[in-house]
């Protein structure tokens, strides 16, 4: 007899039930409607030990299902002082706090609202969860008129509501695309999570990777010898497929380039195949590079906790580049890592004047657009190689692949990295079909599991938020027999595997450089009969 299905497994949820969404808001005012927690709909609380590792205050045992969350004695003061501090240090927040006209243009653009119908998942209302407190304590009208001015008192109920809804947002910024003022709900989600963290409240799926990263250098908590083992293992796998033993330089002083990628790609399928692609490519180019164990994480779960924590974790990248004496930094396929690298790193931890402008040793291209931060994306690097015809490729080795491309939210809407990966994909795979226009590029839909939401215990939330993406994938599967979703994000590779299995059965997820590695013709290789996944190439399916 099959084991009973549990709420942390996708099979627990009936498709038809998830698809039956009621968009009619409940009766009454949202300010007065209480919040409830259902199994499958929230993340496990952060363990106190993870906060301790990071020297963060107020870590304690609590559960969203409990009536009493054991908030610290002066919790109201902590929240309001924190809010004041953030308002004083951010024009962005001040402007976003006061310019929303509640037109509702963002409402049905949010993948979490699309998939749930829960009105608090409308981006405008997600922001109002904080604005209502702002009005009550920081504006005259709110203080005097109360609810009539959209203001409300700070109560433990508000804190519970914040925990629920700021962990039902992946900070994907899709709402901002349609907002006439460009109000970025991610700013409110970040603010809400920051204030919660001051009370010792966060998700363990955020704080454990963050604590790991602080201690060991990566989210998975892999120790230095483990990083080496993983990479050596992947090199062994690569040798099996190609017959070539590649070098895996680690912590090597004097390398020209520091390569930083999410640690997820060193351990978990299907990310490991992408990591094999990197190893193959760098070997074939004879690149003078190194991995680092101290900076063995490109991703940054601090981004999902507080700006200070983000800075603390990110600091390792420049510090390690300096210690190893490299010339510039190359970054792997990752989503939120690139939000941090592109929009935050130089401001937080720069200037990086000890580094050189990234320059491809193969093509001689100077990447002027990165002359400040000194770090470029692997898709930019590879697209440049291809533009100069410096890679020998055999796309027929990917002939079993009928691909579509998922734009990850961060590279798409916080960086503008849209065409480089497509250029690479077209070179390595002959069959490439785009999903519908309103679900790709700057309007790309959500994987449902970014920003620390990729756990299992909140499976219902993830399946709902991933519904739009899943259906768009199913659409190209049905119309173009697409069988592979290519993406350049380690979180996507994990979360979209779940989403595709559920909403678009038969489509699997691959990284861009997995396909590059498979198509790459290497000097001295043996005739390839199988791809990195040990599937026969050329018509395996």
């Amino acid at each position: 007899m099959a084991a009973p299905r549990k709420p942390d497994q996708p099979e627990f949820y009936e498709r038809s039930v998830l698809e039956r969404i009621d968009y009619t808001p409940p009766q009454g005012s949202w300010i007065r409607n209480p919040v409830s927690f259902q199994i499958g709909g929230f993340l496990h609380p952060a363990k106190a030990k993870n906060l301790e590792i990071l020297d963060l205050p107020n870590g304690h045992a609590w559960s969203p299902l409990d009536e009493d969350w054991h908030l610290p004695a002066d919790w109201e003061k902590i929240v309001l002082d924190g809010l004041r501090e953030r308002l004083e240090s951010s024009r962005t927040l001040r402007v976003f706090m006061e310019t929303c006209v509640r037109c509702g243009a963002c409402a049905e653009k949010c993948p979490f609202y699309m998939g749930s119908g829960d009105p608090r998942n409308m981006p405008v209302l997600r922001a109002e969860l904080i604005r209502s407190i702002y009005r009550r304590y920081f504006t005259v009208t709110g203080r005097v008129l109360g609810e009539l001015a959209g203001a409300r008192a700070l109560t433990p109920e508000v804190i519970k509501e914040w925990f629920k809804y700021f962990f039902q947002c992946t900070e994907c910024r899709r709402c901002a695309v349609f907002c006439p003022y460009g109000i970025d709900t991610a700013e409110f989600t970040m603010l809400g999570r920051d204030l919660l963290l001051r009370l010792g409240l966060s998700a363990n799926w955020v704080m454990e990777p963050a604590a790991n990263c602080y201690r060991t250098g990566n989210h998975l908590g892999i120790q230095p010898q483990g990083v080496k083992d993983s990479l050596e293992f992947l090199a062994g796998e690569l040798e099996e497929v190609t017959g070539i033993r590649v070098d895996v330089p680690i912590n090597r002083k004097g390398a020209d380039i520091l390569f930083v990628t999410p640690s997820g790609d060193l351990m978990a399928e299907p990310g490991v195949y992408t990591a094999m692609g990197y190893l193959a490519l760098f070997h074939e180019l004879g690149l003078n590079y190194t991995f680092s164990t101290y900076a063995s994480e490109g991703g940054n779960f601090g981004l999902f906790a507080s700006p200070e924590l983000m800075k603390r974790l990110n600091a390792k990248i420049y510090a390690e580049a300096k210690r190893l004496g490299v010339k510039w930094i190359l970054g792997g396929e990752c989503g939120h890592m690139w939000r941090v690298v592109h929009q935050y790193m130089d401001t937080m931890n720069g200037p990086s004047d000890f580094l050189d402008v990234p320059t491809s040793p193969i093509t001689g291209t100077r990447f002027e657009h990165a002359r400040g931060t000194k770090m470029i994306h692997i898709a930019e690097f590879t697209a440049d190689l291809l533009a100069h015809g410096r890679l020998k490729l055999d796309p027929s080795r990917n002939s079993a692949v009928r691909a579509t491309f998922h734009d990850s939210c961060n590279p798409a809407r916080s960086m503008g990295l849209l065409e480089e990966p497509r250029a690479v994909l077209r070179s390595v795979c002959r069959e490439f079909y785009e999903m519908p226009e309103d679900t790709i590029r700057e309007r790309t839909l959500c994987c449902g599991g970014g920003a620390g939401l990729g756990a299992d215990e909140n499976m219902e939330v993830r399946l709902r938020a991933g519904m739009g993406r899943g259906k768009a994938v199913a659409h190209v599967r049905d119309t173009h027999a697409v069988n592979t979703l290519v993406t350049i994000c380690a979180i996507d590779r994990a979360t979209l595997t779940t989403v595709c299995d559920y909403w678009a059965k038969g489509v699997h997820v691959a990284g861009l450089h997995e396909l590059v590695g498979n198509a790459l013709v290497m000097k001295g290789e043996k005739p390839r009969t199988e791809n990195f996944r040990h599937e026969p190439i050329g018509g395996g399916e």
């Binding site: 949202w30 109002e128 006439p180 010898q225 080496k228 101290y294 603390r312 657009h369």
Partner: protein, 344 residues
């Protein structure tokens, strides 16, 4: 039933009450002043404008005082990176001119609302559809006609009337079959107001998020528009007199005795209320959007370092501390270390 309607009752009722109060004040005051009623009009106009300007400047300065912590442009197209890929100048601007062009499209032409195409049927099964571009049309109609109406009002306070105002009047014509001629904006503006109000009431999710602060300006503008249209087309307010009153304010010319006009008093008083209310309310979206970092910043993040004057000092894990913890294991694995293990 009461619970169901409580939210609407509170916010729509509150807004309605405020507007009724705002109408009652001048209606009751004007008769008391008798022949000196133009003074009320002038005082309201002058004081409300001063309050508007002072609060607006104070608010914007308060915004400006806080630094922008990070450069966070919203990239809506291809970035500028390698030579083989051409970048989207209007979606992901890089140079200053491109930023201004993006701001023009996004802020002046409301491009974000224009992007709201209905969800593709292929992916929409079971998903929310939204209203497509209808809000874009309403927003453009509302703001454009409001702007044109404001410019047309310049002829009441400027002498001689500037050429562009006269020109605008010549083009803004719906029909000349009746006298005075009917402006397009006199029809479009009330229509847009009605649509904005209607969608707030009828779209349940928009009603759910609507506050008194959303109904109040719409109701206020409705009364202002109504009194304006009544003055122009029905009671035929003596424009020459109005101009004389306005001139007094601008040129300090003596006020001549003019026929009392309660419509004008209410009209001007409510405009005064709007002026005072503007900088204290969501109407600040006008200056706000000009300071929105997502729409107004260049995507040159990796090229030029953005400075955050409040960049916090933080404690980090230094490499030496890391190596101290893992040194033995690193040596065992053959990884290079900075410092030899102690006692060896």
């Amino acid at each position: 039933m009461f619970r169901a309607g409580r939210h609407l009752f509170l916010h729509l009722g509150g807004a309605l009450g405020a507007v009724v109060l705002a109408c009652a004040v001048p209606a009751l005051m004007a008769p008391l002043l008798g022949a000196r009623w133009p003074l009320l009009v002038l005082a309201v106009a002058a004081l409300s404008f001063l309050a508007f300007a002072a609060t607006l400047v104070w608010k914007i300065l308060r915004w400006m005082r806080a630094p922008v912590p990070f450069r966070i442009p919203l990239t809506l197209g291809q970035q500028k990176s390698i030579a083989s890929v051409s970048h989207s100048r209007s979606g992901t601007p890089h140079a200053l001119g491109e930023v201004l062009w993006r701001m023009f499209l996004d802020i002046v032409l409301f491009r974000p609302l224009f992007r709201a195409t209905p969800t593709a049927p292929a992916t929409a099964r079971g998903l929310s559809h939204g209203m497509g571009r209808s809000l874009w049309f309403i927003a453009v109609a509302f703001h454009a006609s409001l702007l044109i109406i404001l410019v047309r009002h310049l002829r009441l306070i400027l002498d001689p009337v500037p050429a562009f105002v006269a020109l605008l009047e010549r083009f803004d014509v719906a029909t000349e079959m009746v006298l005075p001629k009917v402006h397009i904006t006199s029809l479009l503006f009330p229509l847009a107001l009605a649509l904005l109000f209607g969608r707030r009431l009828l779209l349940m999710r928009v009603r759910y998020i609507s506050l008194a602060a959303d109904y109040f300006p719409l109701l206020l503008l409705s009364v202002i528009a109504t009194t304006g249209i009544v003055m122009r087309h029905f009671v035929r307010t003596d424009l020459a007199s109005v101009k004389k009153i306005a001139m007094w304010l601008v040129y300090w010319a003596p006020v001549l005795a003019v026929r009392p006009d309660p419509w004008l008093v209410v009209h001007v008083f409510l405009v005064g209320v709007l002026f005072v209310y503007f900088p204290l309310s969501k109407l600040m979206h006008l200056p706000g959007v000009l300071l929105s970092p997502t729409l107004t910043m260049s995507n040159n993040n990796r090229e030029r370092r953005h400075i955050n004057p409040r960049n916090p000092d933080v404690v980090t894990m230094h490499y030496t501390d890391y190596e101290d913890v893992f040194r033995e294991r690193m040596i065992e694995a053959g990884l290079p270390v900075e410092k030899a293990p102690e006692g060896k």
